[in-house]
């Protein structure tokens, strides 16, 4: 049994034909060829597959794709934008991860970044701050210190007015 599911993916309308209970994670990676979203545990424990649905961070391994019909889905691929010079620009948080060494093996990185982006846009979603915003994302390489530094660096840059459009 498959059905047509239409949603906005990184700003563009997308229709896929899939089983209603197919994981959004698999639809993104296989049907949409967006392999930036990673699978870690596949049971909602590690956060590697985090994407943003209608403004909120969620784990895409736990979302049956029928539930995104009519929604706005953002994956890591949707963060970069086209600059005035026609070159692709990374999101400031992606730049902060590079600058601070927030990524090592890279499996947790897209999920970390998407959870952080949801927090940067809506700080009230995590009254406990960065640590709470990222509590659902596991990293086995960095020891978290550089990830936290990356997010804090991005917050400081936002406050100083750099890249205000986001």
């Amino acid at each position: 049994m498959t059905t047509n599911i239409t949603f906005q993916l990184n700003g563009r309308e997308k229709t896929v034909q899939a089983h209603p209970m197919a994981r959004l994670l698999d639809v993104l990676r296989q049907d949409c060829s967006l392999t930036g979203t990673k699978e870690g545990c596949g049971e909602g424990e590690c956060g590697a597959c985090t994407v943003i649905i209608d403004g909120r961070a969620v784990m895409s391994c736990m979302v049956p794709v029928c539930q995104v019909h009519g929604s706005k889905v953002e994956s890591i691929e949707g963060l970069e934008s086209m600059g005035a010079d026609g070159q692709t620009c990374l999101h400031l948080i992606q730049e902060a991860f590079i600058k601070c060494g927030g990524a090592q093996c890279g499996i947790c990185t897209p999920g970390m970044i998407m959870a952080a982006v949801a927090y940067l846009r809506q700080p009230e979603s995590a009254p406990g701050g960065v640590a709470e915003a990222l509590e659902g994302n596991l990293c086995r390489c960095t020891g978290y210190t550089r990830i936290f530094e990356s997010v804090k660096t991005a917050i400081d840059r936002m406050k100083t007015g750099a890249n205000q459009s986001r």
Partner: protein, 283 residues
């Protein structure tokens, strides 16, 4: 091993009415609210043990996703309200602090953004984090079917391990909390898990005392169901000391050894939580 989805069917009703009509046909339909339990079974390959046909309730959000205080002062939580909806709601923050606390320690933010409190109840895990808090607030559940509805006490909803009084044709439509009656400093919630986030409780407890003879104490992960320790409540209301209350509590809880903890550890932690609770609320 992962589930082969071709073996499973999933209905996607567009309204409450359509969902209840589908349930009235007599087919066993497993509801999916936020999916944070069902999708784990799917990923683990355990879907077949649960059921063959599923019913996604997501499109009912327009009707059932709300948190509001009614004209009589009761809090109403629609079946599709998420943990995030509840923990950030002003009325909940003001009047039901244990509900905020319990939603905040459930999973992580990504889980809280999808999972629902009604799903936490219907799933029936004795380790559910929000259920003890809801029980202490004397929560009631509205159960609906295609032709009517009934209201049951949450403390009487569970009949055994992952078993409850919900019939196949019914869905939980809302959780109703009577208007608040416990002072903020007379409410106590404690979850003991392996770490602060993303942990499933080894012991979870909610308790409160209104100072007028009404004591509520509800426990998770120490019995096949989340339960109120009513004999201990009565003893505490009558002024029992910690040792006497503990002796009674041991006749009500039945913790076991499992992958998350041991019977001995759970008993020790329960005893300490009880003493801490009694030290913090007046008697």
């Amino acid at each position: 091993m992962r589930t082969n989805l071709a073996d499973y069917e999933c209905l996607t009703p567009g309204s409450v009415r359509e969902a209840l009509e589908q349930r009235a046909t007599g087919r066993k339909l497993i509801p999916i609210a936020g999916g944070t339990d069902v999708m784990v079974w799917m990923n683990d390959g355990h879907l077949g043990k649960v059921g063959k046909v599923y019913q996604s309730l997501h499109a009912l959000a327009g009707e059932w996703r709300y948190v509001k205080t009614d004209t009589e002062g009761n809090l109403r939580i629609g079946a599709l309200a998420t943990y995030s909806d509840v923990r950030h709601h002003e009325d909940v923050k003001k009047n039901y602090p244990m509900l905020v606390h319990s939603a905040q320690v459930t999973g992580a933010i990504q889980i809280q953004n999808r999972g629902t409190l009604a799903g936490n109840i219907a799933n029936g895990s004795p380790a559910a984090d929000t259920v003890p808090a809801l029980m202490v607030y004397d929560a009631k559940l509205r159960l609906v079917n295609a032709s009517g509805e009934r209201v049951v006490e949450l403390s009487e909803f569970f009949t055994g391990y992952r078993a409850n009084v919900l019939k196949e044709e019914e869905l939980i439509s809302e959780i109703i909390l009577p208007k608040p009656r416990f002072a903020a400093d007379q409410q106590y919630y404690r979850k003991v898990g392996t770490r602060e986030a993303q942990a499933i409780s080894k012991v979870v407890f909610a308790g409160a005392n209104d100072g007028k003879g009404n004591v509520r104490m509800a426990w998770g992960s120490v019995a096949p169901i989340t339960l109120r320790s009513k004999k201990t409540e009565d003893a505490v209301a009558a002024g029992a000391a910690a040792d006497d209350a503990w002796a009674i509590l041991q006749t009500e809880i039945t913790p076991i050894d499992d992958i998350r903890s041991t019977r001995d550890y759970r008993l020790k932690v329960s005893q300490r939580i009880l003493a801490d609770f009694l030290g913090k609320v007046h008697q």
